[in-house]
Subunit: 263 residues, 4 copies
Amino acid sequence: MTGKVQKDDFILLYLSPGKKWLVRAKEKGSLHTHVGYLQFDLVIGKTYGSQLTTSLGRVLWLLKPTIEDFVMKGERRTQVVYPKDMGLIVVKTGVSPGSTVIEIGTGSGAMTTLLANLVRPSGRVYSYEMRSEFIEIAKRNLERAGLLDFVTLNLKDAREGLDVENADAAVIDVGDPWNVISPVWRALKGGAVISAITPTANQAEKLVIEMEKTFVDVQTVEILMRGLEARFGKTRPSSRMIGHTAYLTFGRKVFQESMLAND
Amino acid sequence: MTGKVQKDDFILLYLSPGKKWLVRAKEKGSLHTHVGYLQFDLVIGKTYGSQLTTSLGRVLWLLKPTIEDFVMKGERRTQVVYPKDMGLIVVKTGVSPGSTVIEIGTGSGAMTTLLANLVRPSGRVYSYEMRSEFIEIAKRNLERAGLLDFVTLNLKDAREGLDVENADAAVIDVGDPWNVISPVWRALKGGAVISAITPTANQAEKLVIEMEKTFVDVQTVEILMRGLEARFGKTRPSSRMIGHTAYLTFGRKVFQESMLAND
Amino acid sequence: MTGKVQKDDFILLYLSPGKKWLVRAKEKGSLHTHVGYLQFDLVIGKTYGSQLTTSLGRVLWLLKPTIEDFVMKGERRTQVVYPKDMGLIVVKTGVSPGSTVIEIGTGSGAMTTLLANLVRPSGRVYSYEMRSEFIEIAKRNLERAGLLDFVTLNLKDAREGLDVENADAAVIDVGDPWNVISPVWRALKGGAVISAITPTANQAEKLVIEMEKTFVDVQTVEILMRGLEARFGKTRPSSRMIGHTAYLTFGRKVFQESMLAND
Amino acid sequence: MTGKVQKDDFILLYLSPGKKWLVRAKEKGSLHTHVGYLQFDLVIGKTYGSQLTTSLGRVLWLLKPTIEDFVMKGERRTQVVYPKDMGLIVVKTGVSPGSTVIEIGTGSGAMTTLLANLVRPSGRVYSYEMRSEFIEIAKRNLERAGLLDFVTLNLKDAREGLDVENADAAVIDVGDPWNVISPVWRALKGGAVISAITPTANQAEKLVIEMEKTFVDVQTVEILMRGLEARFGKTRPSSRMIGHTAYLTFGRKVFQESMLAND
C-alpha cells in the first residue's frame, strides 16, 4: 500500500465530526458540498491525511475510510447497530480471523460488514434475511467495502432452520429473536457465544426466558455512550446523547444431559 | 477442531456469571472450588458445552474460553481495559486481520491479547512498556492465549521514539498520553486512527489539546454499561453498576500543509 | 435558635461522607465508634459546625441534621426512596407549605418524613399502610424528626378507598400501584399530580396503561446519580454507582367528559 | 379553593407532554395555537381537570399550573436549572417552610421561584444578581407565580459580601462559585448546607478545593434523567436524552478551631 489515493478507491472527505463524505475517487467529476465543490482529479495520487481545498476555499481532509465509516455510512433503510453496541458484541462473541459466524437479520448489512472484516480471509459470515430488498442493499454495502467474498447472504426465514454447522458465534437482530434460538442453537458449536439485539425490555425478557433453556452465562446489558467536550479549562460532558438503542443479550451454548447421552 | 477437550487445552468451567474458572486441562490433578473438586481426567475428551459434576454434586459447565475470558482472566497487576471500552476501540480503530497496530502501555497485556487475536495471522501488534515486570506478565498472558507470535513486546520508553512505520492504528494507555502523541504520529499512516484511554477529565483535556495539532475528528467519549435483569414479569436494571472506567479519545492522523511540501 | 446544641437535640456527628452518626444529645452517656468514644456532656452547649475530638483523638464534626439525614438515617426495614428520586417527586408534584398529600405505602416513613417537612405547618400528609409493624416504625421515625403532628397514618388497604378529598398530590410506593389508581384519583383535585415509584419495567408498563385512562401528561423516567471525584488535576467520575432504584411515573388528574356532565 | 378557574388565574392548557401553554385566564381574548384557538371566556368557571375544545376540534386539558410549570415556563434568557437537579438541591439543602435561603445568581429566577414556594410564608429567599435586566425578569417571573413577597432581590456583586446572617442554606449558580464561598460561608449558620451548580468539571474541581477549607461532607454529583416509554408489550427507554446539564456540589459549613476560640 502506497498511502496515496488510487483511482476508484473509496475515500473519506472530512470537514467536521458531523460532516464527512464517503465517496469513490473517480477520474472525472466532483463532489458538491455546502462548502464548495472538489474536483476528483485533484484527489488521485494525493497522500491520505493531506488537506484539500474546496472551490470556496474550505479545507477538507483526505482520509482513508475505516470499517466504521463503511458500516455507518452505507446505504440503509433500517436502523443500524451502533458502534458502541457492535464493539461489545465483537469482544463478547470473540469473532476474529477464521470464525464462522451466523447472523440472523441482515438488514442493511452494517453489522455484516463489520463481522466480515474481522473473520476474513479464512472465516465466513452466514447471514439470513427474509426481505429480498434488504439482501440487495446489504450486497451493495458489502461490495463497496470489498467484503462480499466473505459473506453468504441467505434469503430465507431462519425460523425454518439454517444451513450451517459448528459455527463459532451468532448475532441475532430480528424482532422475535426467541423464535430463532432453537435453529441457531443447532448450528453452533458447544460453548459458542450468541448475541441478540432487542430494543424493548419485553423482548429482552422473552428472549432470556427462551435462551436460559439451552444457554448458560446469559446476560443482558445496555451500553450508553456520552461525549466529553474536552476544551482548555472548560471540559464538560456533551449536552445531548443517545438515550437508548437496544439491549444486548449474550449466552453460551450448552448441552443438556439428555442431548449428550452417548458422549 | 473436534469440539472435544484435548489434553492441555485451556477450558472455562462455568458455575455462575460471577464464578468461572479458566484452567488448563491436565491429565492429572483436579480443580478445587467452594462447590467441590473436579478431576481433570474426567474432562479430557468431553464435548465443549457439556455438564460436569463436582465431588459435592454441583454442576459445572465445560466451556471453551473466548478471547474475552483470556483478556479478563489473565494474570494482572494493573486495572485492565473493560470489554465495553475495548469494543469501541476495536470498532473505531478498525483493527482487523493484517493490521499493524501500535500499543503504548502494555500493562498486563489484556488489550494486547484482544488486538493480537484480531490482527493474526498476517498483522502484528507492536507494544511498548517501560516496566520489565509487566513485559513478563504480558508475555505469559499472551502465551496462554496462544497469541505471543503476533506481538512484539518492547521494553522501551515510547516517548523516545518507536521502531514502527506505516502503522494502521494505535492504542495508548499510559498516564501521560500527550507525551507520546508525537512519536506515535510519526509511526502511523496518514489517516490512521489513534485511541487513548485516560481515567481523568484533566488527562482527556490535556490530551485533546495536544492531539488537535496533528489529528482531526478528535472525539472523547465515555461508555457506561448497565445490566438488565430480565426475569418473567420482573424485569429491571441491575442495582449496581460500574460508574466509570476511563474516557476514550479518538483521532485520525493528518499532515499539516508544511509537512507535505513535496507531495 | 441559638445555633448551639441543647439537651435532647438530635445531632449529626460527621467523620466522613460514608460515616455519620445521627444521635440524641443526652446529658449522660457517650457515643462509641470505631474511632473512639465521645462523651455527650461535652456536646451540649457547643456551636453547630464546631469540631469535637474522640477519646482516640479523631475529629468529629458537630452538625445539625438536615431533613435528608432524618430521611436516610431513620430506622428502616424496607428499601427507602433515594434522595435523587425524592427530589424529582417534590418538584413535579409541587408539594409545598399547605399541601394536602396522599401517600400510599408508608413503609418506614422516609418519604413521609420529607413530605411532612414540606407541607407543615398548615398542610398534611395522609399516609396509608397495610402492615401495622411499618406504621409503628414510621411513627417512631416521624416523631424523631419532630414531624408526626403533620401526618395521619392509616392502617388500611388503600384499594378499599381513602378518607381524603381534594388532595393536591399523591405519592404511591406499593407493589401494585395500578390497583390504587382509582381510589387515589377520587381523592385528588382536578389537575393534581400523582407520582408512583416502581422498581420493574413491567410494573411501570402496567401502571401507565391504567393511569392513561384518567390522567394526562403521563411520563415515566428514571434518575441516575453519579459522583464526581473532584481533586486537583485528577478529577474523574466515581468508579461505582447505583445502577437502578426505581422508575418514577407522573400524571395529572383529569375528568373524562362523562364525569363532568353537570359542570 | 373552589377547583374552578377564576378570572386572572394562571392556567395550564395541555395538549401533549411537549406542548403546554401557561397563560392567564382573562375575560376577553383567546389563545391561538397550531391546533386552533380557544376563547378565554369559555374557560372561566370551568373545573380544573376538565377538557376544552379548540376551534379546530382538538382537545386541550385545563390544568392548574404546578410550581414546576411556573419554574420551567417562565420568561427566561439564561439556561435554567433542570427539575432533576433542583430536586436533589431541595432534598440535600433541606429548604422548607421557614428557611432563610441565600441564592447567588438569580438569573431568570427559576430556582428562586422553587425556593420561594418552599420557604413561604415565614421563610425568605435572599437572591443576589449583578445584572439588572435579570433582576427585572426574575421579578416578573416571581410575581406571576405569586411568590415575590417571599424574596429579596439584590442587585449586587455577592463577592463583595452579603447582607444576610444565620441563613439555613445557600444555592450558588454563577460562573465563579469559588469567589463567593467566603461571603456565603459568613452568612450561614454552622452546619448549614451549601449547594453549587457548575457546568464544567474544571469549575467543580476549583470549587471543591475552595470549599474543602471551610465545609465538610463536600460531594459533587451529576444527575441523569432518562425517559421510559412504557407501552403495552413495547416498553423501552427513550431514544434521546439530555446528556449533561451541570455538576452539583454540596457541603456543610464548619468552623475551624481558631474561628471558635471563645466558644
